[in-house]
Subunit: 226 residues, 2 copies
DNA sequence: GATGCGATTCGTACTTAGTACGACTTGCTA
DNA sequence: TAGCAAGTCGTACTAAGTACGAATCGCATC
């Protein structure tokens, strides 16, 4: 026993660093990023961490809490622009960053709003947005509107982007083919025209619409600030 | 679409009208509306329908297909404004209707974009939006932007609305209490101010921000049309 | 060192849920 | 009235979350 102990201790400590709540959540995010959220099971996560399922539960209370933790880390990745930046520009920077972060963690978008308990990072983020709007001189009612409207747009855009069948304009052709094959192509002339004459063209990028919409909203908010 | 089966048969058929794909999907939507999407299991659905789990599978190929069918029905509920309506007004009507429908089926929002195969109603809806934008004289690139931007906003708003902790301004107080209790209230001055001085006031309604944002976007789109 | 304790780890097993397989039932048609 | 196709369901397997309690580990103290 004692002799074996010496050997196993060395190996064990080198091979199996102790788990922590943070390591568990981080590994869960990596798994979700890599294989999709539907592949994130406690068993698979334990496998990734080189441990057994029940060990996970000593660091997070359950899967729901794990998801809460993951969402909060997503929020922490959103860039926090300096508070002395012009308010409009600050919102632009933050929203753009949010889009990038959400695109990096597509699984997070449907989760963002469905978590019951807001984490500290989420609260920090919301507080920062409101502070920026307050700097813009918006009265409370307009502030609430601006807040709701920007969030809606960012989440909604991310939701769509997260579920694009393909990224580049390449595989788009096949998708279009499938749809055209399954349904009468003549029934959807505008859909076909948009796809063939625009979406499938070289320079197209869905993401470019983000900036367009963001500017529309920022313009509207600025107008309301007067 | 088919007429009711002959009810004049013996009590067996009266007690257990034959199932159909449509009846299964409708019952699934009712269950999800009533108890939440997480309560929608094949077993519970069978129970609601007065039958056994395996019977479901003779009408829908599996749960995923069932969800596809539900989503398509949600799209069919969105109002289709007359095609001779002024294009801006037509978009307004359609988007508002979409918000109402999505609020009625909160479970559908995260599903909308994640379904792999688009159903006929979804395609019809998209085609109609594009046709309306085309009537507005938008060139293809602006059309794509307008399309993406409106959809993002509507989905994002619905996503937030679907996950509001409470509807009226009433229970809001308790939620605010919890948050304030869990974290240092002084750390989130703007959040507290917005909540206490605006959200918790009598006339507040989150939904009113929808029209505000929608007008911002319609303005922006109209400007781009020139 | 030996010992004792809290922090971790994990083996076992129960529960819920999706669904494959094949047998049984039913209602209509020839 | 026999037979067939459509519809129904009993049984059972698999995947996944997780409760319970025992085994183990790491370290501080004597």
């Amino acid at each position: 026993m004692t002799t074996e102990d010496v050997v196993t201790r060395d190996d064990a400590s080198a091979r199996k660093p102790r788990l922590s709540r943070e390591r568990v959540i981080t590994a869960a995010m990596e798994l979700a990023d890599r294989d999709g959220i539907e592949s994130l099971t406690i068993r698979a996560l334990a496998e990734d961490l080189g441990t057994k399922p029940m060990t996970i539960y000593h660091h997070v209370a359950g899967k729901e809490v794990l998801l809460d933790g993951m969402v909060d880390i997503v929020f922490s990745e959103i860039e926090n622009p300096p508070t002395d930046l012009e308010w409009r520009e600050a919102l632009r920077v933050r929203c753009r960053s949010a889009r990038v972060v959400l695109a990096r963690h597509p699984w997070s978008v449907p989760l963002l709003e469905s978590r019951t308990s807001p984490g500290p990072e989420l609260l920090r983020h919301h507080e920062a947005v409101l502070a920026t709007l307050a700097r813009g001189g918006l009265p409370l009612p307009q502030m609430a509107h601006a807040y709701a409207v920007l969030d809606s747009f960012v989440y909604g855009f991310a939701l769509q982007e997260a579920n694009l069948p393909v990224q580049g304009g390449e595989g788009m052709a096949e998708v279009a083919q499938e749809i055209a094959a399954a349904f009468d192509p003549g029934a959807y002339p505008n859909l076909v025209r948009l796809t063939v004459d625009h979406v499938m063209k070289p320079g197209y990028s869905f993401g470019s619409s983000f900036d367009v919409g963001l500017e529309m909203l920022l313009d509207g908010i600025a107008r309301a600030a007067e």
